[in-house]
């Protein structure tokens, strides 16, 4: 069966996301994630592949084909419903997901932006930029 996200009622989407979350957070699945993390060289994509396998399973469990088209439709859910309170209150992996596709535009000036050094002193982002050299910012966290 074809999965077209705009035609699926919210309660059904919540059921699917909740099921996905239940699998992701199960002890068994967490063990599989850890195994991949320690044994795989291409960790990021391996972990993403595990997520995709879970999502294929969710689609099949709810009676849909787990093909690429249906997966692509399924991936639209977080973006489409990121402000939907019912979904955010039901599924915490959506609630905490602050990933956005609409980013800054090439050519935009450095914004006013406060940063902190490890001595707890506040500095401005633009104070790092020497106009003779590009400023490369590698953003992330240990996790």
């Amino acid at each position: 069966m074809e999965f077209i996200v705009s035609e699926i009622p919210i309660y059904k989407i919540i059921e699917m996301l909740s099921y996905e979350e239940k699998i992701k957070y199960s002890d068994d699945m967490q063990e599989i994630y850890s195994k991949q993390y320690y044994e795989s060289k291409d960790v990021v994509n391996k972990l993403l592949n595990l997520d995709v396998e879970i999502q294929r399973h969710v689609l099949e469990t709810f009676g849909y084909l787990s093909n690429e088209n249906n997966l692509k439709e399924y991936w639209k859910i977080p973006g489409l419903y990121k402000d939907n309170e019912d979904i955010k209150n039901s599924v915490f992996y959506i609630r905490y997901n602050i990933f956005e596709f609409n980013k800054m535009k090439i050519g935009k000036k450095i914004p006013p932006c406060r940063l902190i050094n490890t001595e707890n002193k506040e500095i401005q982002l633009n104070s790092l930029h020497n106009n003779n050299k590009p400023l490369v910012l590698l953003a992330g966290s240990i996790t």
Partner: protein, 127 residues
């Protein structure tokens, strides 16, 4: 990965790590049950930063564990850097002559086609 990029390019570019919100943080209740976050295995077992001290603590763990030797700065606890650049869970941003010249992108399915620092170097060196 970033270590090599830094060592090979630190004289061409000013390079900093910006420590932002945790990606795969885990919130647990008193009995240890996962009640929030984005857990992907027991290798990551940290809650999200609630204070600037939490963020500084995590940045120091990164520095000590990976010995990156790359200058590190933290996003403000109000997440100014994230709010402007939308880089979470991670990303690369490059400014030149005061303007944005590169920002990393992830496909809708989360797949990264190329290592971002390699992608940036390809663009920068071939312009």
């Amino acid at each position: 990965m970033y270590k090599n990029f830094y060592n090979e390019n630190k004289y061409r570019f000013d390079i900093f790590i910006i420590y932002i919100l945790e990606a795969h943080f885990v919130e647990k209740n008193e009995s240890g049950k996962i009640i929030g976050g984005w857990p992907i295995g027991s290798q990551y077992n940290y809650p999200q930063h609630k204070t600037l001290d939490d963020r500084i603590h995590m940045a120091k763990i990164l520095e000590n564990e990976f010995q990156l030797n790359i200058p590190i700065l933290l996003d403000h606890i109000d997440n100014d850097f994230q709010n402007y650049h939308k880089v979470w869970p991670d990303g690369v941003i490059v400014y030149d002559k005061g303007a944005l010249i590169y920002e990393s992108k992830v496909d809708r399915n989360g797949i990264r086609e190329k290592i971002w620092t390699d992608e940036f170097l390809d663009i920068f060196d071939n312009k």
